[in-house]
């Protein structure tokens, strides 16, 4: 694979957690490359290390061993401020529990990452409304998360993840809290958005329906890749 096409390059990554005197390995020497614009599924049973891997790719945690390069940047070398800015510019997140800010409206939730990136106000407004239209929630812009259904909340989360035109969107069990019909619509939406934006999606799931939509499916078991 040409180096320019590689967005995420994980080399011999391991992650251990300490519980008192016990060390629990979550990832064991995992190596994986993710291409730009790909739609990748990380599948595996509960406790296999999916969320841990996503957290490392999302620069939310540091590996115990190995290295992770994202867009050519060794993320271990970045301090908190630089890492935060890196996340704000290059990454989007979709969580199982939607994780919207409850005191902000749908519009303000989507707008928030643009404010963090200091995008000029007129552009912020235009991009936010475009994203809300893209996920079909322009009429719910003023609604707060508490006034939206689960599917609508997840669509707001997708809009928030993509509004900054990131290189990478990480979705951890995005359909786990939704019924199957809504879950299918969300997966369709993510796929369509990925096609439209060219943004790479890495989705951790154990949902077969989600896995069926992927370019690549990587199965994890006990912290190791199976495929």
């Amino acid at each position: 694979m040409p180096a320019a096409e590689i967005l995420v390059e994980a080399t011999n990554v391991s992650k251990e957690y300490r519980l008192g005197k016990t060390t629990i390995p979550a990832l064991r020497g995992l190596s994986l490359d993710i291409r730009r614009g790909s739609f990748v599924i990380i599948a595996g049973p509960s406790g296999s290390g999916k969320s841990t891997l996503l957290n490392l790719f999302g620069c939310l945690d540091q590996p115990t061993g190995g290295s992770i390069r994202i867009a050519g940047q060794d993320v271990a070398k970045l301090g908190d401020a630089a890492l935060s800015a890196f996340r704000a510019r290059r990454m989007g997140f979709i969580f199982q529990s939607f994780n919207l800010v409850p005191v902000l409206s749908a519009y303000e939730n989507v707008e928030y990452p643009l404010r963090l990136n200091r995008v000029p106000r007129p552009e912020t407004k235009e991009r936010t409304m475009t994203m809300l239209e893209a996920v079909g929630l322009e009429k719910h812009a003023r609604h707060r998360p508490g006034e939206l259904s689960g599917g609508q909340r997840q669509r707001v989360a997708i809009a928030r993840a993509l509004v900054t035109h990131p290189d990478l969107v990480l979705a951890d069990e995005p359909t786990a809290n939704l019924d199957s019909k809504t879950g299918a619509r969300i997966v369709d939406l993510m796929h369509a958005m990925q096609q439209r934006s060219g943004t790479a999606f890495i989705i951790a799931t154990h949902d077969e329906m989600v896995a069926a939509r992927a370019h690549d499916v990587h199965k994890l078991h006990d912290g190791r890749l199976e495929s």
């Binding site: 957290n55 999302g58 935060s84 996340r87 969580f95 005191v103 928030y112 963090l116 990136n117 928030r160």
Partner: protein, 474 residues
């Protein structure tokens, strides 16, 4: 701006908890403002009372302050007018002067020929109108005791002294009793009434029967076209036959302490001078300076010392705080109490806001983790949480300022009175919140500072919590 909106909306999230916190801050802030206002009133009250008695600076012949009490004649100043002119024309002191006056302080024996009684007394000779002016010094516009209805009997009737009444004076009620001037049958005629018990007739419960005594002196005046009189006896400076003058009693009124009440006689300074230095021009023991501002006391004292050195005058000075260390003592005591109250209220505010912030942060840990994931750095998150605490302090502080002002107005309407230490009349309790806004500024700033301190620790902890750990929080 986004941070401000987020912080304000988060405050509104748990309204009851935020309201209780804001109320605690407001009550603490207003409590501090009101107590600060009271302390401020007490400081000013004691200052006005002290300066009203002693002036800002007193000038004596060198050695008088330490040794002259028992021998005023040796330390008397015969050049009062010269000293006064010197002070008024000095380019530094002159513009700072309110006025200059003088006193004679001496001891002697007082006898009443009409009641065949005698006792020692403590004499204070003053210029009547200057003494009145000094007593009425009220630079902080505190409510004048004279205007209180409860003090009316005290200030009713003739004044203690008058400029044109050289031989008039006033006594303490205790001294009046000792001289048996409170007994109707013995007041004027010089004969002892056999029907009256030889024991002094004291008012019920030995309390001051002010109207009775006042009536006595007034009635006496009407009775004989004059008034009750006593004789003041003093030893002359060079020994020999004692000097005697007659004092017409204009008024009998209570004094601040039992000692003064039983001993003080206030009289015209020229009459006192005539008693101590018969046939000589005016002599004084003390020159009193009243300044426009108390803050000038030190500078003027320094200038006086220089001036006395230049003019080779054998004089010494004492400031009002040196003469009456009580002011500094009470200032220190109230200062300590104020700091104590401040610390207590500050702790209340700190713990209340800390508790609110802590609970809010624990409840919202996952949300804070999300903000971090979206790209808010540690400092940014800390800032958002600090802003929340500051807004609690700000809203509570504004509420406290308004409550403090309301408390000031309420207390004014209530007209609470009491007898302050060291005086014989009632004073209206005031809290100088509106007239001394520094206490409001202090209480408000204190609220904000406490809010900042109490928010800093939970905010720091939240900012340092690893993102994945925060996201796992439910």
């Amino acid at each position: 701006m986004q941070d401000v909106i987020l912080a304000l909306r988060n405050i509104g999230r748990n309204r009851r908890r935020s309201l209780v916190t804001i109320l605690a801050v407001a009550l603490s802030c207003s409590g501090l403002a009101l107590f600060g206002g009271y302390v401020s009133w007490a400081f000013r009250g004691v200052e006005e009372q002290t300066v009203g008695l002693y002036g800002h600076i007193q000038i004596y012949k060198k050695g008088y302050y330490a040794n002259g009490g028992g021998d005023p004649s040796s330390y008397a100043l015969a050049n009062y007018d010269e000293i006064k002119t010197l002070l008024e024309h000095d380019p530094f002191i002159g513009p700072r002067l309110e006025f200059v006056t003088a006193q004679i302080i001496f001891n002697g024996m007082v006898t009443s020929a009409s009641t065949h009684t005698a006792t020692t007394f403590f004499g204070l000779g003053v210029f009547p109108s200057d003494d009145e002016r000094l007593w009425q010094w009220n630079p902080y516009a505190l409510f004048p005791a004279r205007n209180l209805a409860i003090n009316a009997p005290l200030f009713a009737g003739p004044s203690e002294l008058a400029d044109n009444d050289l031989e008039g004076g006033s006594l303490g009620t205790g001294l009046g009793r000792i001289l048996r001037l409170d007994r109707p049958s013995e007041k004027m005629d010089g004969r002892k009434d056999a029907s009256v018990s030889p024991e002094p007739v004291l008012p019920a419960s030995a309390e001051v029967d002010l109207p009775f005594l006042t009536e006595q002196s007034e009635t006496a005046s009407k009775d004989e076209g004059g008034r009750a009189t006593v004789e003041l006896v003093c030893m002359p400076p060079d020994g020999g036959v004692p000097n005697v003058v007659t004092l017409g009693i204009r008024k009998v009124m209570p004094r601040a302490t039992k000692e003064f009440d039983d001993q003080l006689i206030k009289l015209h300074i020229r009459h006192a001078s005539a008693l101590l230095f018969p046939g000589q021009p005016l002599h004084v023991t003390t020159v009193i300076i009243l300044l426009r501002k108390s803050a000038d006391t030190t500078a003027v004292t320094e200038r006086l010392q220089t001036l006395f050195g230049e003019k080779k005058l054998d004089l010494e000075t004492k400031t009002w705080t040196e003469i009456r260390p009580f002011y500094n003592q009470i200032r220190r005591m109230l200062g300590i109490i104020f700091v104590f109250v401040f610390v207590l209220l500050a702790m209340l505010v700190v713990f209340t806001i800390y508790n609110t912030q802590n609970a809010g942060i624990i409840e919202r840990m996952s949300e804070l983790g999300t903000l971090r994931a979206l790209g808010v750095n540690r400092w940014g998150l800390w800032k958002i949480l600090i802003l929340e605490g500051l807004f609690l302090g700000l809203i509570g502080g504004i509420g406290g300022v308004l409550l403090g002002i309301a408390g000031d107005l309420f207390l004014r309407a209530l007209e609470v009175v009491y007898v302050p230490p060291g005086v014989s009349f009632f004073a209206r309790v005031e809290v100088l919140v509106l007239r001394h806004p520094a206490v409001l500024v202090l209480a408000f700033t204190g609220s904000l500072l406490c809010a900042l301190i109490s928010s800093a620790f939970p905010a720091r902890r939240a900012a340092l919590t690893p993102i994945v750990e925060a996201l796992r929080h439910t």
